[in-house]
């Protein structure tokens, strides 16, 4: 009799428990009136303008046409650094290229962009990691960066960055050890190459060290147009640097040419990265300007002084050349 009562009691508890669970599940019903949320912007990319400035570019959120659309918020902080960073509001009618200043060369920053509605809901964030880099349009003599044709007595070799003068400089064959990039105009060609790959007669002890070029070059009117979202050695890129030569004498696109380059600086075992632009004259035509035998090509250089910072975040699984 007692046993039956106990079983009945247990059954009652079980029924009550099931009812309570059922009641609980009723309390987490979906919000009957959810807040609409904007779609994110896309294709967030960056480029280094100088040692303290980066431009960030994105494509519009499809939600810009929604009446609830308010703006975008771009925020940034040093990657792995303090959690508090800075931010900037970008309105829908503003240009999609945002300038961020006051940064430090060699530090990688995490940029995050969200679209916002007036109801305070925000889109899924999109991110890019980037570092500013020094920009050079002038050489160590405060003159344009001119590299001369092979037949000239002036230098046909470019040193991308000369530490003592804090700028690029142009060198002759007598100083081949300083060369990073060579210009070779023999046989009516315009060859840009790793200095180690041109057949110049460097004096003993002045043979240049290799400079590694990425296999593809890019065309643009300005270095500022070369946006990217990946590190210069990201993934498959890392295995596609070698001592290359490019013949630009038959290059017909009327734009400038940009090369991704990396090199160990003297005594170093880590790469410095650069984006080197061979400038097309404003009037168009051949890259070679001036008159023989002192024709020259003009360069502009974006150079990352901090080793092992390929502008963006270094991938963890990189091998070296």
């Amino acid at each position: 009799m007692l046993k039956n009562k106990f079983l009945l009691l247990l059954s009652s508890f079980a029924v009550i428990a099931i009812m309570m669970v059922s009641c609980d599940s009723n309390t987490v019903d979906p919000d009957p009136d959810p807040q609409p949320k904007p779609s994110p912007a896309s294709n967030l990319q960056a480029t280094s303008i100088n040692a303290t400035t980066i431009h960030v570019k994105f494509e519009d959120s499809p939600s810009e046409s929604n009446l609830l659309f308010k703006d975008y918020q771009l925020s940034w902080k040093e990657d792995g650094g303090p959690t508090v960073g800075d931010s900037k509001v970008v309105l829908a009618n503003d240009p999609n290229i945002v300038e961020v200043t006051g940064l430090t060369e060699g530090k990688v920053y995490l940029f995050t962009l969200v679209a916002r509605y007036t109801n305070d809901s925000i889109s899924t964030p999109i991110t890019v990691q980037w570092s500013p880099a020094s920009r050079f349009t002038l050489n160590n003599n405060d003159d344009e960066i001119k590299v001369y044709e092979t037949s000239s007595n002036f230098g046909s070799g470019l040193q991308m960055f000369y530490e003592s003068d804090g700028a690029p400089r142009v060198r002759t064959v007598a100083n081949g050890k300083d060369w990073d990039i060579a210009l070779d105009t023999r046989d009516n060609k315009i060859i840009i190459a790793s200095a180690s790959k041109v057949g110049y007669n460097f004096p003993t002890g002045q043979t240049p060290e290799p400079t590694y070029f990425y296999k593809d070059y890019f065309t643009a009117s300005s270095l500022n147009e070369i946006f990217d979202s990946r590190a210069m050695n990201d993934g498959d890129r890392n295995s596609n640097y070698s001592e290359l030569t490019f013949d630009l004498s038959t290059f017909t696109d009327n734009k400038s040419v940009i090369f991704y380059v990396r090199k160990y600086q003297p005594g170093q075992t880590r790469y410095n990265y650069a984006k080197v632009m061979l400038k097309r004259p404003a009037s168009g035509g051949s890259f070679l300007q001036g008159s023989t035998p002192n024709r020259y090509v003009l360069f502009e250089i974006s150079y990352q002084k901090t080793a092992d910072v390929p502008y963006a975040k270094t991938p963890k699984n990189n091998a070296t050349n």
Partner: protein, 118 residues
């Protein structure tokens, strides 16, 4: 009449010859160093850094070009003195100048069309 024509041709020949002797233009650069004239006058070698040279040029002190034993005053093609431009090359071991050389009253002059490090 024939004599007059001959004389005229001779005069023109001499005149052109004089010009070509006085003005010499070479595509090959003249090699040398950027120096301080004041320092050379005071018995020094004239060697200066870029910063010193720029400062001297700003003050109007002559920055000149030494090639071998010759001291050149360097001018721009528009006739202005190129001391300030030259000063920016002072830190280079070797500087090359392409242009026209002249000697006026014993003073060596280069009208520079190109200046660059070598």
């Amino acid at each position: 009449m024939l004599n007059k024509i001959v004389v005229l041709i001779l005069v023109m020949f001499v005149a052109f010859s004089t010009v070509f002797v006085a003005d010499s233009f070479a595509q090959k650069p003249i090699k040398g160093q950027v120096v301080s004239l004041n320092d050379i006058v005071m018995g020094g070698k004239g060697k200066i850094t870029k910063e010193q040279a720029v400062e001297l040029a700003e003050k109007g002190s002559p920055v000149v070009f030494k090639s071998g034993k010759k001291i050149y005053f360097v001018y721009n093609e528009d006739g202005t003195f190129a001391g300030k431009k030259l000063a920016k090359y002072a830190s280079n071991e070797v500087v090359g100048i392409v242009g026209k050389t002249k000697k006026i009253n014993g003073i060596e002059i280069i009208i520079a069309t190109m200046i660059d490090s070598m």
